[in-house]
Amino acid sequence: MSAANASNAALPISAREIIPEKGVLVAARRDLALAMRSRGELVQALAFFVICVSLFPLAIGPESALLKRIAPGVVWVCALLAVLLTLPRLFQSDYQDGTLEQCLLSPYPLPAICLGKMLSHWLTSGLPLAVLSPVLGLQFGLGGSELMVMVVGLLLGTPVLTAIGAIGAALVLGVRSGGMLLGLLVLPLYIPVLIFGAGAVEAVLAGVDPTANLYLLAALFLMALVATPYATSAALKIALD
């Protein structure tokens, strides 16, 4: 490690000083630019989300009281699955074309780069899902305050899905049938987010104060924010060893 640092210092990389925290922005900006070039992929995840949610009334029947009752769970489970499907995007192509190895060698710390990649991933997956979710909630007959809590919950919860998913996505890089395996690894870890997220909306439906659930989601978010970039960068190092 120290040898690598010394050789880095000897190289005339650039005249300007490297600020480690800037790695987040650098990585996020790059990934966002790439994501904007293939907008089709973004739309696919959203379409999947919408189709998935719309299947439930068709399977269960158009009874509005029942639909309203299951709406929070349905929307959250579908959001989980939609995020799961977008996870390979985080590292897959970078792994295949060697960009990840360059990230490892870059002067920016790897956890900062991971955080940047997560940020970009959330902006292009979790955020659109949260924005779209009220429309789906309306289909299930949810009212204003319930929709509000659902959006807030998704805004707090989907970053956690991205963050935990990033660890899984890094672990299965280059593994056969990685997509299936990723679901197996990540979905059990998503359970707390699902419980608190859907629980918040259900609390409103039941006429109870949803803030406890939202606070718990916020706590999960903060924990994930602090811990997962390090775990993800450890997983990336294992994958590229």
């Binding site: 197996l184 059990p188 870890l189 707390p192 629980g199 997983a235 294992i238 994958a239």
Partner: protein, 243 residues
């Protein structure tokens, strides 16, 4: 420290071979004694009748299922920090045993639940979190088997189990709160009844038997893993069961 010598697979292999029969025998004797006390000596429960006797299998297996995951996480820390190959091999050897115990706990719980609660499955907090624990075991086993490069599989598995073990308490409490939110006061697994001394004794002996069994089986399995991984080395070619 002389003990560190045994972190080398070549030194641990013969030691494990010597220990297996002892732990195996202890598991057998304790199992027979524990089952005898549990099934014949312990008194009938006045509320549940004879059905309750399944707890002598159920509770020890549930304990082992949780405990083995913690042991795996500990080995995972060792494997990542000290880069000891043997720790990762122990994780791989323990995982199937842990998964089987967790599955057994669920299975026996269902068998007990039908006559007492009137249902095989309730979304009780403990049952649900045990089910999720089983998923975590399956995820670990699937990941380790899917990665062909053994060195990478070891480390990836170690990291996954550590991440999982951080999550276990979060999952447990989320499920618990979720359960109280939904069901209110329905079924309590830990009804405040006091256990007779013989019941407790039988359960503890059975728990010890499960421990011994787990150790014996894990050591057996780790020997197989060592042989498989080290088959190209000189020392493996020289041991007599291979020659």
């Amino acid at each position: 420290m002389a003990l560190f010598k045994y972190s080398a697979p070549s030194a641990f292999y013969p030691l494990a071979g010597k220990l297996v029969p002892w732990f195996g025998a202890a598991a057998f004797v304790l199992g027979v004694v524990g089952l005898y006390i549990g099934l014949f000596v312990a008194p009938e429960d006045f509320q549940q009748g004879e059905v309750y006797r399944i707890i002598f299998i159920h509770v020890p297996t549930a304990w082992m299922g949780m405990f083995i995951y913690l042991v795996m996480a500990m080995y995972g820390v060792l494997a990542l920090i000290y880069q000891t190959r043997l720790s990762a091999m122990m994780m791989e050897a323990l995982a199937p045993t842990g998964a089987i115990f967790t599955a057994l706990a669920l299975w026996t719980g269902a068998l007990w639940g039908k006559p007492t609660w009137g249902t095989y499955w309730a979304w009780d907090a403990r049952m649900t979190s045990t089910l999720i624990l089983l998923f975590l075991y399956i995820g670990y086993i699937a990941l380790v088997n899917a990665i062909e490069d053994k060195k990478r599989a070891d480390k990836a598995g170690a990291l996954l189990v550590i991440v999982g073990s951080v999550n276990v308490p979060i999952i447990y409490f989320s499920v618990k709160w979720w359960n109280t939110l939904h069901q209110g006061a329905s079924i309590s697994v830990s009804g405040g009844n006091k256990m007779a001394m013989t019941m407790l004794l039988a359960m503890l002996i059975m728990a010890l038997a499960c421990w011994m069994y787990s150790i014996a089986v894990a050591l057996c399995r780790v020997r197989a893993i060592i042989l498989e991984r080290e088959r190209h080395t000189q020392w493996v070619r020289e041991i007599k069961e291979v020659r």
